[in-house]
Assembly symmetry: C2
Amino acid sequence: MPDALPYGVDDRGRVVVAWGDAVVDLATLGGLDVGADVWTSGSLNAFFAEGPEAWALTRAQLQARLTPGSQVRTRPAGEVTLVLPFQVADYADFYASEAHATRMGQLLRPGSDPLPAAWRYLPMGYHGRSATVVVSGSAVPRPCGLRRAADGSLGYGPTARLDVEVEMGFVVGNGSTRGQPIPVEQAAAHVFGVVLVNDWSARDIQAFEYQPLGPFLGKSFATSVSPWVVPLDALAPYRVDGPAHDPEPAPYLRQREPRGYDVSLSLCINDTVVSRTSSADLYWSMAQQLAHLTANGANVRSGDLFASGTISGSTRSSAGSLMELAANGSEPIVLADGSTRTWLEDGDRVVIEGWCANMALGAVSGTVTAASHMGEP
Amino acid sequence: MPDALPYGVDDRGRVVVAWGDAVVDLATLGGLDVGADVWTSGSLNAFFAEGPEAWALTRAQLQARLTPGSQVRTRPAGEVTLVLPFQVADYADFYASEAHATRMGQLLRPGSDPLPAAWRYLPMGYHGRSATVVVSGSAVPRPCGLRRAADGSLGYGPTARLDVEVEMGFVVGNGSTRGQPIPVEQAAAHVFGVVLVNDWSARDIQAFEYQPLGPFLGKSFATSVSPWVVPLDALAPYRVDGPAHDPEPAPYLRQREPRGYDVSLSLCINDTVVSRTSSADLYWSMAQQLAHLTANGANVRSGDLFASGTISGSTRSSAGSLMELAANGSEPIVLADGSTRTWLEDGDRVVIEGWCANMALGAVSGTVTAASHMGEP
């Protein structure tokens, strides 16, 4: 069974690698060219700064060292507490799944063309809040905000429409220079690896605020990421051609195939799998997102997080949000205990898992807690 | 003449203070309780971390020390090169001027209610790109992007509608905790000071991309800030009542008067003053923006930059953008050399200056350079 050998950071600030069900401390492993100061720096950012050749060399050294039967000191994964693995510089969230964008358009703007006018011409996105990117396992207090109740009245209080979004994200390891766009074919060299992302969303807060400046408080309260960052090299065997572009995009967005990655994803609420989907059908690739974001001269930095946007399949049971799974509150889903959900309830535990064939990518989880500032803050 | 005694950072990484036309190096001044390591740290973030009491004490010590005739070693301001004075954590841009939001609505959505539906109920805003916040004086290469030409054709290339936005920003010195909204009356204690902001905008790129996720590449190529951060205490004598709220906002946004600041601003293109405006009429205050952004439980961090959005007065000559001054390209303005502008041309130098009565706040400048990546990147 192939091992992704993803990187994380434990609560002592040590860089660690997952190896099967065990965790290896890189500062004490030995045999690595990259020095111990990088492995004790408290985040992966120091490793990012070493550059793509050091990432590849380290992975090769780990693959040679971590073989069946080799004598390596490890800890059981269950005994290791992991923290946010990197300092997030800028966070941008995209909208790259055609099935998701189409279904959201149908639900929110029935009767009109469901896809936004620019959707097929460029990878749409917006900047999110870096401060509230949190590691898997962090509690997610139900956010409050201004929203309309079912009777149309407007008031400040806890969201009644708390949702999840199943996403994948990638982390920039290698920054760029302002004024120098990254060509799409060079984009992969800037990517360190991928994480699983839950882009929690408060649909009522979002609906009231989002025109014309886009999502803001409906999203900015929490974005959970997996504690393990999977090196992009580990995904190389799982590359797939992306869906055909129609119309053909502008030259700066044209990418040779295979541009996609076939990552299977499951969404689980209180131990009931409510959706299974895959990243294979994302219309816009990671490289296209990176080329687009820098096409106006903006630079990226080490630690930038790019999220895909909700990953949904064409059937409703493969949708990556409750908004879609329960048809905007109108068709509840049923959990294994017989209870139903249109939106998340306090106490609900949400887990997103990812894998490529039989290679696990880990999980991102979070539990909803009661609003800590009911009524007025 | 009162001195704002703003803080900056020079190109040796030393914290400096502007004193009239001179610059004082705090690491060598002596007589300050805050230690030299803070003044040689390369940014103001270390000073932010000292907290509000240290900020007030330092200002009092500087006011006592920097009096007419006192013997202090200084350098002429013209001999000092200043860098970006703080590391920007998250950057959020608001839309707080009613005259601006109204005029933009009239230009972009004629015949409908010009103000977005939520505008009077909450301070609308969005997250911008921290990586491209640059210090005054930085060149601004004309950005490229996908935009429609006058004949309706879509293509990638340099923007034909490069604009400025006259804004004020404030810098968070004192962060907060996720899950704990900042009450509006406590917001000022989190603010270190203010800067002048030019939120450069490419109107054609923005127009094509911005629905429904908001501004992205039309804004993310550059945001210029003044090199001097004016402590909020320096603005205390210039507080004014804000415009009346109608309707009364939700309790978490209700603030005692005076909630505004009367900062005069001028916009200058190639030495022609093309607009004079003031921050006194901003509908939503700094404290209201801070209370709103945290009302969903999001935390702020030291180094967060909040910008006001374009500051425009009710007359067109007091508008803070070319979009308004030249009526979306239809009514060119005339510069002192007889040339006309609807949008910025390569080589144009833009300067925004700010002052309160006779206290100068400094300036933010930038010069447009030719697109460095014409055609395809």
